[in-house]
């Protein structure tokens, strides 16, 4: 697991909050969209926060999943033109996908939450399976790492 002292997770995914909130600082955009998370990341990167994870998901296309989690630094450090380019290109890429008439069931939403969470966990070297077991078994606080 990467040391989390300088991490801020921007997310609209409730599963990320449930599995990771004990270890990381999380900005939970509860009613926010995928695009809202991208915009928040862009604004913070423009303000000098370091971008730690790529803003676009793996192979899940924008507008095909409602969830996104992005990691930036908790505090602003120095403006990076390269990172600003990555985050603004990502927003451009997002916007070219047309809105579709999604009517996801709870089960499918849960799948999308899982994919977003596992991608994030992979990036953070966070034990995704352990996080899920905590979610499933509700391990009491005494088991905190």
């Amino acid at each position: 697991m990467r040391r989390g002292t300088d991490y801020r997770i921007l997310t609209n995914n409730p599963l990320v909050v449930r599995c990771m909130e004990e270890w990381y600082s999380i900005d939970y955009l509860e009613a926010g969209s995928y695009r809202d998370v991208l915009v928040r990341a862009r604004d913070l990167v423009y303000a000098g926060h370091t971008l730690f994870t790529h803003p676009l998901a793996g192979s899940v296309k924008p507008n095909e999943t409602p969830y996104r989690s992005i990691v930036v630094s908790r505090e602003p450090h120095a403006f990076s033109a390269e990172q600003a380019e990555i985050v603004s290109n990502s927003l451009t890429a997002f916007d070219k996908f047309s809105e579709k008439d999604w009517q996801w069931s709870e089960k499918v939403l849960a799948d999308f939450q899982l994919i977003d969470y596992t991608l994030l966990a992979g990036a953070m070297e966070f034990d995704a399976a352990a996080g899920l077991d905590k979610e499933r078994n509700r391990i009491p606080d005494t088991n905190k790492k």
Binding site: H54, G58, S59, D101
Partner: protein, 430 residues
């Protein structure tokens, strides 16, 4: 390193009491294959039930949701075995002789993550978009044990498929091949002396490695935990790389794609004639930006160290991997090595949008595998192997994709292998 592939053409598959290959027909006892696939603790723990079906080219059959496609092979001479580090022991493969059952595949099907698995149509307009419609497919349909996590189940289905392919491949051990092909690459100095006037070319093979359900394994090692490294091309042909992901269907590299990587095949076809095929450089596509930087730095470093003249770069996936693709290409160009990219495009349904999520002026030589947003209507099939329950939910489908009459309106990204980024397929642009 020299590998012989003994190609055995399979012309028919039939269920039978005994398992054998005779006159090009694979006779298979489904219970025996299933028993072998289930002789693994993880498979037993996570797969409640499984059954086999056969799909043949031209039939009115739809296979969905597809997880992996695997070509049955068996190592008959030389060290190692198929799928080293996963099924066989971890010995280095890529030498000796391997028997290959051509014209057929093991396909694993069944729901893992609702929206990420694809469709193979054996006939109709959808069949033209996937080369898997031209194979005799022995399909392993799995059902999960209730309550099992998706990532545990993905692992179990992956292993079940590889074990089934291993069992079937073993039947080709004592069959005389219809054709034997030989592939050989040389050490750095040896190759240079042999082909002093030919350009030195390598293949930069990017592996999907973004996390659980998005992984690729090399000799059993999760690619996201590996630094950029070198493989002999014959190792790839011999099962060293396997697919462990549930990414969107059209540009997912299945295990079959790795075994039959067309970039490797085509570079070998030119090896010693127009170029000197030096090696494959494998690199990952991690989510963490520092990983992206490290891996692409290393790719460029290895290209320079090997004194290459040119490379072909292929990626897997869209979006986030586009950044790895461009980082690799830019850095390799900057150390003086020419690059050509193979990718697919998400250019919108009208094909007018920018195709990739990232770009650079140095990445000016690109071969496309097609536009994944292109819309297709797939007619109803008489038989479905698997289930249509998820068609509305797979990438490229949408609510209402599955019409009441059984036809599907979707983007071609629902079709397994439709826009493969190794160039395995027939879509391109001029």
């Amino acid at each position: 390193m020299k590998l012989e592939l003994g190609l055995i053409q399979i012309k028919d598959i039939q269920f039978s009491k005994e398992c054998k290959v005779e006159n090009g027909t694979l006779f298979v006892n489904a219970d025996e294959v299933k028993a072998f696939a289930f002789a693994d603790d993880d498979v037993k723990a996570c797969v409640k039930d499984a059954h086999f079906d056969i799909a043949k080219p031209g039939e009115s059959v739809r296979i969905t949701p597809v997880k992996d496609v695997i070509e049955p092979r068996v190592k008959v001479e030389g060290p190692g075995g198929e799928f080293p580090g996963v099924i066989a022991k971890v010995d280095t493969v890529g030498t000796g002789r391997t028997h290959v059952m051509k014209g057929m595949a093991i396909v694993t099907a069944g729901k893992i993550v609702g929206f990420q698995e694809g469709v193979i149509d054996m006939s109709g307009p959808g069949a033209a978009y996937t080369d898997f419609s031209k194979l005799l497919n022995l399909v392993l349909v799995c059902d999960p044990v209730e309550g099992v996590h998706q990532h545990e189940y993905e692992h179990a289905v992956r292993i079940a498929g590889l074990r089934a392919a291993t069992f079937v491949g073993e039947l080709a051990r004592n069959v005389k091949p219809d054709e034997i092909k030989t592939y050989e690459t040389y050490g750095v100095k040896e190759g240079w002396e042999k082909f002093p006037n030919l350009p030195r070319v390598a293949y930069v093979h990017m592996l999907q490695s973004q996390g659980l359900l998005h992984d690729t394994y090399v000799y059993g090692v999760d690619a996201k935990k590996s630094l950029t490294t070198i493989l002999n091309p014959t190792e790839t042909m011999d099962g060293a790389i396997i697919s462990g992901n549930c990414v969107s269907a059209c540009d997912k590299n299945t295990t079959y794609h790795h075994q039959n990587n067309p970039v490797v095949e085509d570079l070998f076809a030119q090896h010693g004639k127009t170029l000197n095929y030096v090696c494959n450089i494998i690199t990952n596509e991690n989510v963490y930006l520092a990983d992206k930087q490290r891996s692409s730095d290393w790719t460029a470093k290895l290209c320079r160290l090997l004194d290459l003249d040119g490379v072909i770069v292929s990626q897997e996936g869209f979006g986030n991997p586009d950044t790895d693709l461009i980082m690799n290409t830019k850095k390799i160009e900057l150390v003086g090595v020419k690059t050509t990219i193979i990718t697919d495009e998400y250019a919108g349904q009208d094909g007018k949008s920018q195709s990739l999520a990232d770009a650079d002026p140095l990445a000016d030589a690109v071969v496309t595998g097609g536009n994944a947003n292109e819309v297709i209507i797939l007619p109803k099939m008489d038989k479905v192997i698997g289930t249509l329950d998820y068609v509305d939910k797979i990438a490229g489908g949408h609510a209402g994709s599955l019409r009441p009459d059984g036809t599907i309106e979707a983007e071609i990204q629902v079709i397994t292998g439709a826009t493969n980024e190794m160039g395995f397929g027939c879509l391109s642009a001029r």
